[in-house]
C-alpha cells in the first residue's frame, strides 16, 4: 500500500495518511474513560443472574451501607420516565408486538444480564463491590432459548404479549413463488443457520452524564449522538436546546453503538437525582452479555433453476431470533437483507418470509452488515449448492445469471433500483489475480499430502448509503426518522477550513476523507481542513455513522456545501478581477481567470475579502464563507464485487486455515484508497471471524457460555491471511461524487466465500454443506459422518445441552474453575 502525496486541489483518489492516526497511535486520543469531571460519581449495574424470572424483592440496604455509596436505585424508583427505551421501526401495515424495555427491570427479567438495580458511589471499585451486596430474590420462570422451540409458544418470554411471535413480514415479487418452484426443473433446498455473533468493539461502551442547572450533557461512546439527544428530549422531557450529547473518541462500534443505551438513561437520571456527574464504563464481561448481538437466524431456503443453469425462483423463510427485547432496530434487521435478496442475479420470482421470535436471550440488532450478510450468505452458498446439483461450474453459473452491465439502472422484482454495476468486470479481475488453473493443479498436489485445499467465491452486491428519507423514513419503509446527513463548511478569515459533519466516525477515517473532498473544492491542502464531529452543540441534526452511509451521504453533504462556497468564491474573485464568474476556474490552488492563470486569488485571499476587508464584495452578497447543508439523496447505493477465499483443511483434525484472500470491490471512485483497503481488511476479518471462529452461545438455561474473549473466539492477526485487494470503479448515479459505501462490504461478502471454499476442499469426501462456524470439531464430525462414522456435526442452535462446563474450557481455558483456583 503506497502512501502518496497529492498535488494541490487534487487530493481525492490518493492514499493520504490518516489525520486521526498521530493522536491515536501515540495514546493522546481522549476516549470516554479518559474523561473525568469534578465531583464525578461512578455507577455499577446489578444484572440478572436469571434468564427468566419474576423479581420478588430487591434489598439494597446492605449495599447502601457500604463506604462511599451515595444511592442505590431500582426500577420502581424511575417511574418518572416518560417513555421506555425506543424501537424505531413502524412499518406501515405490519403489526409488531413490542415488549416494553425499561432501563431497570420492572418486576420481571427476561434475559441474563438484564439490569435490575444501579449503585452509585464515589469510587469505581467501591460501586462494583457494593453491587455484589444488592440482594435480589428471583422467582425463576421457564426459559426458552431455541428460536424454533420459542415459536411453539409453550413458554412465553413476555406473558403479556400472549405469544413469542413478535411480527411477520413478507415481500414477494415477480409472481407466485410456489408455482415458480413447482415449474423449476431443479430445486435445491437447505436449512442454513446463521449463528449469533457479537460486535466486540475493542472499546466497550461508556457514558458520563452531567445534569446541571436544568441542562443535560452526556458523553457517550456512541455512533449516533444526535439520536441520543433526540431521545433524551422525549424520555426525560428536557427540551433539546438544553441537551448536549458528545461522542468523544470512539474505539469501534460495528453497529454495537448504534443504539439508545439503557445505561445512558441510568447515568442521566441518576445525575439529575444526585446533582453530580455520573460515569459508567462497561466491562468486557458486560459487553459480551449486554451489548447487542447480531445475526441469529434459522433460514429455510429454496432455489429453483432450469437444468442449463438459469435461476428461476428463490425463496427464503427466515426465522429471526430477536432475543428478549427490542433495541433501536431489532425486528428490522432481516428485512434490510431482503432488499438485496436477488444479489447480482436476474431472478424472476422471489419471496422473503420473515418471522421475528422472542427468546430469553439478549436482543439482536444491527452488527456490521445487518441483515445483508445473512441474506448474501444464503444466496451465495445456495449458488454453489445449485452448481453442485447441476454439475456445473459455480463461476459459470454466476456469470450466466449476472445482471448484465448494460441493464443498469436495474429494477429488481422487489421494485428496488440498483444504481449501477459491472459484476463481470469485478469477477474477471479477481480471476486474473487468482489464476484458477494454477490453483486446481496445486489443489490436486496438496491433496496427496493430506492437505485439503479449497477455493470459494462470493460475488455480492449490497444496499447501503442509508437514506433516502422518502424510501426509509416514516412514510416509506417505516423508520421513525428520515435518513439524511448534515454538514457545515466554514472557511476562516485566513483561508483554513472547519467542517462539521453529522456523521459520527469511530475508526473510519472521516477526518481524512472528508477533508480531501472539501480541500479539493477550494484548491487547498487537506491539512488545513479540520473535520469536527460527534458534538450536538457544534453542528446541526445529523444521523450518525452506520450502514456504510457516511461517505455517500455525509461526504456528499460536505461536497455540496463546499461547492456552494466555491461558487461564492468565484463570484467574489470575478468581482475583484472585473470578470464573469463563469470565467473563474480552480487551478493550481487558485481561483483564477480562464486563459490567464496568473490572475486569481487563493482561498485565503477570498476569505480576506469576505471577512477582513469586508467591503469589496459583489453588490448584495452577504459577508462570510460558510454553508450549512442537509443532503438527502435520490436513491441508495449498491456496492458490489468478488471475493475469493482459499482454505486449507487438515484432513485429520478438521482445522480450517484461510491461506489466501482476494477481494475486488467496487465502491465507485476512491476518495482515499488506503481507507478502502482498511475497511476491506477489517470487514473480511469480521466475516472470517463468523465463518470459522466466533459464536455467542447460551446454554439451555439461558446462561451465556461465551462471556469472555477466552470463549468468544475473535480471530487474531495470526489467524488472518495477508489480503490481496483490488478495485474496479463504477460510478453511482445516486450522488454527485459517484461514490458508494465500503464499511460493510467485506463482512457481507466474506462468510459464503469461506463456506464455499471449505466445501470445495471437502466435496470429494462426500460433504456438500456444513453450517458455520466451521470449527475444527464440526468439520471433523462432518468428515467422520462422510466416512461412515458418527452422527455428523453437532447442531449449531442455541440452547442445546452441552457437556459439563464446570471444569471444562470453552474454547481455550478454564473459565469457571471450582475451588482452589489461583
Amino acid at each position: 500500500m503506497s502512501i502518496t502525496e497529492a498535488p494541490a486541489g487534487k487530493s481525492v483518489g490518493h492514499s493520504l495518511r490518516r489525520k486521526e492516526d498521530p493522536r491515536l497511535i501515540t495514546g493522546r486520543a481522549s476516549y470516554i474513560d479518559d474523561i473525568a469531571l469534578p465531583g464525578m460519581l461512578y455507577m455499577a449495574v446489578v444484572r440478572s443472574t436469571e434468564a427468566h424470572a419474576n423479581v420478588v424483592s430487591i434489598d439494597t440496604s446492605s449495599a447502601l451501607g457500604r463506604p462511599g455509596i451515595k444511592a442505590v436505585y431500582t426500577g420502581a424508583d424511575m417511574s418518572d420516565l416518560l417513555a421506555p427505551l425506543p424501537m424505531a421501526w413502524a412499518p406501515p401495515g405490519v403489526e409488531i408486538k413490542t415488549p416494553e424495555r425499561w432501563p431497570l427491570a420492572r418486576g420481571h427479567v427476561a434475559h441474563v444480564g438484564e439490569a435490575v438495580a444501579m449503585v452509585i458511589g464515589d469510587d469505581r471499585y467501591g460501586v462494583v463491590d457494593a453491587a455484589e451486596h444488592v440482594a435480589v430474590e428471583y422467582e425463576p420462570l421457564a426459559v426458552v432459548v431455541d428460536v424454533e422451540q420459542a415459536l411453539e409458544d409453550e413458554i412465553l418470554v413476555h406473558e403479556s404479549l400472549g405469544t413469542n411471535k413478535a411480527h411477520e413480514w413478507t415481500m414477494g415479487g415477480g409472481g407466485d413463488i410456489e408455482q415458480a418452484l413447482a415449474d423449476s426443473e431443479v430445486v435445491v433446498e437447505r436449512r442454513i443457520v446463521n449463528h449469533r455473533t457479537a460486535g466486540a468493539a475493542i472499546e466497550p461502551r461508556g457514558v458520563i452524564a452531567e445534569y446541571r442547572a436544568g441542562g443535560l450533557t452526556v458523553w457517550s461512546s456512541t455512533q449516533v449522538p444526535h439520536l441520543v439527544r433526540l431521545f433524551f428530549a422525549v424520555q426525560m422531557g428536557i427540551s433539546e436546546d438544553k441537551v448536549r450529547v458528545i461522542a468523544p473518541e470512539v474505539g469501534g462500534g460495528f453497529g454495537g453503538k448504534l443504539q439508545i443505551m439503557a445505561e445512558e438513561t441510568l447515568c442521566a437520571w441518576a445525575s439529575k437525582q444526585l446533582g453530580r456527574p455520573v460515569k459508567w464504563i462497561e466491562t468486557r464481561s458486560e459487553n459480551m452479555a449486554v451489548s447487542h448481538h447480531g445475526r441469529d437466524q434459522v433460514d429455510y431456503v429454496r432455489m429453483g433453476a432450469t437444468r442449463d443453469g438459469r435461476i428461476t425462483a428463490f425463496h427464503a423463510n427466515i426465522i429471526q431470533d430477536l432475543g428478549a427485547y427490542f433495541g433501536l432496530l431489532t425486528p428490522m434487521i432481516p428485512e434490510l437483507g431482503a432488499f438485496v435478496m436477488t444479489g447480482c442475479y436476474k431472478i424472476p420470482v422471489v419471496r422473503t418470509d420473515i418471522t421475528g421470535v422472542l427468546t430469553n436471550k439478549f436482543f439482536t440488532d444491527a452488527i456490521r452488515g445487518a441483515g445483508r450478510p445473512e441474506m448474501t450468505h444464503m444466496l451465495e452458498v445456495m449458488i454453489d449448492q445449485l452448481a453442485e446439483e447441476l454439475e456445473m461450474d459455480a463461476i459459470e453459473l454466476r456469470r450466466k445469471n449476472f445482471i448484465p452491465a448494460a441493464d443498469f439502472p436495474y429494477e429488481t422484482p422487489y421494485g428496488i433500483t440498483y444504481d449501477s454495476g459491472n459484476y463481470e468486470a469485478a469477477l474477471d479481475r479477481a480471476l486474473e489475480i487468482v489464476d484458477l488453473d494454477a490453483f486446481r493443479a496445486e489443489q490436486a498436489s496438496l491433496r496427496s499430502q493430506g492437505i485439503l485445499r479449497g477455493i470459494g467465491f462470493s460475488t455480492y452486491t449490497e444496499i447501503c448509503g442509508l437514506a433516502p428519507s422518502r424510501a426509509v423514513g416514516p412514510s416509506g419503509f417505516g423508520l421513525g426518522i428520515g435518513l439524511y446527513e448534515s454538514a457545515i463548511v466554514r472557511v476562516h478569515p485566513t483561508g483554513s477550513v472547519t467542517v462539521y459533519t453529522g456523521a459520527s466516525p469511530h475508526g473510519q477515517g472521516h477526518e481524512t476523507g472528508f477533508a480531501q473532498i472539501v480541500a479539493d473544492r477550494f484548491g487547498v491542502d487537506p491539512a488545513v481542513v479540520e473535520v469536527v464531529h460527534g458534538d450536538t452543540a457544534q453542528g446541526p441534526m445529523g444521523l450518525g455513522t452506520y450502514g456504510s452511509r457516511s461517505l455517500s451521504i455525509g461526504g456528499v453533504a460536505c461536497a455540496h456545501a463546499a461547492e456552494k462556497i466555491a461558487q461564492k468564491c468565484r463570484e467574489i474573485v470575478a468581482h475583484n478581477l472585473e470578470a464573469n464568474p463563469e470565467d473563474i476556474e480552480l487551478r493550481n490552488g487558485k481561483f483564477s481567470l480562464k486563459g490567464d492563470p496568473d490572475q486569481g486569488m487563493t482561498l485565503g485571499e477570498v476569505a480576506g475579502c469576505a471577512y477582513i476587508d469586508a467591503t469589496n464584495m459583489p453588490e448584495g452578497m452577504e459577508l462570510g464563507l460558510e454553508q450549512t447543508l442537509i443532503y438527502d439523496p435520490s436513491n441508495f447505493v449498491f456496492p458490489f464485487g468478488t471475493h475469493v477465499c482459499v482454505v486449507d483443511v487438515d484432513a485429520e483434525t478438521g482445522k480450517v486455515r484461510v491461506v489466501r484472500w482476494v477481494a475486488v470491490d467496487d465502491c465507485g471512485p476512491a476518495v482515499n484508497p488506503m481507507l478502502i483497503d482498511g475497511q476491506v481488511h477489517g470487514g473480511v476479518t469480521h466475516g472470517i471471524g463468523q465463518a470459522l471462529y466466533e459464536q455467542v452461545v447460551y446454554d439451555e438455561r439461558g446462561q451465556l457460555i461465551t462471556g469472555t474473549f477466552l470463549d468468544y473466539a475473535l480471530p487474531t492477526a495470526e489467524e488472518i491471511p495477508s489480503f490481496e485487494t483490488d478495485r474496479t470503479e463504477t460510478k453511482s448515479p445516486s450522488n454527485s461524487l459517484g461514490v458508494k459505501g465500503i464499511g460493510e462490504a467485506g463482512t457481507i461478502a466474506a462468510t459464503p466465500a469461506v463456506v464455499n471454499a471449505v466445501i470445495d476442499a471437502l466435496r470429494h469426501e462426500g460433504i456438500s454443506y456444513i453450517d458455520m462456524p466451521l470449527t475444527p470439531m464440526r468439520v471433523w464430525q462432518a468428515l467422520e459422518e462422510a466416512r461412515g462414522r458418527g452422527d455428523g456435526p453437532r447442531a449449531t442452535e442455541q440452547g442445546v445441552s452441552l457437556p459439563p462446563q464446570g471444569e471444562g474450557s470453552a474454547g481455550s481455558g478454564p473459565t469457571r474453575p471450582e475451588g482452589g483456583a489461583a
Partner: protein, 280 residues
C-alpha cells in the same frame, strides 16, 4: 473486570515471601506473572485477601545450566525460555504459550503452581520427568513431576510453600516433538502432546509422552509409550503406538471439543509429535 479489595506487598526475598505468605493466612496468594490469577480476580472468581508479589526477586529468575540438567528459577518468564533452543522441548513449548505479551509476563513457577491441565508446561514437565523444589518455614523439599499434579487446578504444593526452582534433565540424545492443537494460536491447548524419543540403531530405546488437557491433570500416555519402546521407529509402529494415546485418559467435553474429538486429537497429535521426535 474489576477485582474485589485486596492487600498487596512486594517481597524482597524468598524468605520474606515465605514469612508474608504464612502471616497472610489461608487467603494469601503469591503473585508472579499474574496471568492466571489476575484474570480470575477480575472475573471475581478468585478473592485473595493478600497478594505477595515475588516477581521482583532476582534469585528466582534465570537458568543454571548443569552437565545433565537445567535449574530454572521459578519466576523465570516464558519469554526467557522460548529463546533457549539448547533446552529443547521446554523451549519449543514455551514459544507456543499464548502470545508474546503473555510470555513476557508469565512464569514457569506460576504455570506449574496453577496446575492447569490445559496449560503447556505441566504436560512438558511430566514428559521430561522433571521436578519442582519448594520452600516453606519447615524447610525445602522436592516434588517429582509425577507427584505434582493431583487434580483439577490442584497440585502437591502445600499452603505456605513457595516454588523456588524447577529442574529438568538435559536428556542428551533424545529427540523431541511438541504438538499443540487449538482454535486460535493464543488459546490454551484443546489437546497437546509432548514426545521425547531416544533411538539407537533405528530402534526406540526410550520414549516419553506427555498429554495436555486429556484429563483434569496432565497425563503420560503410558500405553503408547509401552507399545513403541523397543520397536523400530518406523511409520507403522509410530502410528500403532499413537492409536493407544488416549488409553486411560478422561478428557472433559466443552463447547469446542467433545471427549471423543479430544481422544481423536490425542492420537493424531501423538503420531505427529513422535514422528518429529524420531526424525531428530
Amino acid at each position: 473486570m474489576i477485582p474485589g479489595e485486596f492487600d498487596y506487598v512486594v517481597a524482597g526475598s524468598v524468605d520474606e515471601a515465605i514469612g508474608l505468605l504464612a502471616e497472610g493466612g489461608a487467603d494469601a496468594k503469591l503473585l508472579a506473572g499474574g496471568h492466571s490469577l489476575l484474570p480470575l480476580m477480575k472475573l471475581r472468581f478468585a478473592h485473595p485477601s493478600l497478594l505477595v508479589d515475588i516477581g521482583r526477586i532476582s534469585e528466582l529468575r534465570g537458568v543454571d545450566t548443569g552437565d545433565d540438567s537445567f535449574r530454572i528459577g521459578a519466576a523465570t518468564r516464558h519469554a526467557d525460555l522460548q529463546v533457549r533452543d539448547d533446552m529443547g522441548l521446554i523451549a519449543t513449548a514455551a514459544k507456543q504459550i499464548a502470545d508474546q505479551q503473555v510470555r513476557n509476563r508469565g512464569t514457569i513457577g506460576g504455570s506449574l503452581a496453577n496446575g492447569d491441565s490445559a496449560a503447556d508446561l505441566p504436560g512438558v514437565l511430566l514428559a521430561l520427568e522433571g521436578s519442582v523444589t519448594v520452600r516453606s518455614r519447615d524447610g525445602e523439599r522436592v516434588i517429582e513431576a509425577q507427584d505434582m499434579f493431583q487434580g483439577y487446578l490442584s497440585t502437591a504444593v502445600m499452603p505456605g510453600e513457595v516454588i523456588t526452582e524447577v529442574r529438568i534433565p538435559a536428556l542428551t540424545g533424545y529427540g523431541y516433538g511438541y504438538e499443540k492443537f487449538n482454535r486460535r494460536s493464543e488459546d490454551w491447548a484443546m489437546v497437546g502432546v509432548s514426545a521425547l524419543v531416544k533411538a539407537s540403531g533405528g530402534v526406540c530405546e526410550d520414549v516419553r509422552i506427555g498429554l495436555t488437557h486429556m484429563a483434569s491433570t496432565p497425563l503420560r500416555a503410558s500405553a503408547a509409550e509401552d507399545a513403541l519402546r523397543g520397536k523400530p521407529l518406523d511409520a507403522e509402529n509410530i502410528a500403532a503406538a499413537a492409536q493407544l494415546a488416549a488409553e486411560g485418559t478422561s478428557p472433559l467435553g466443552d463447547l469446542n471439543a467433545s471427549p471423543e474429538y479430544k481422544r481423536h486429537l490425542a492420537q493424531v497429535l501423538t503420531k505427529r509429535a513422535l514422528t518429529t521426535a524420531s526424525a531428530a
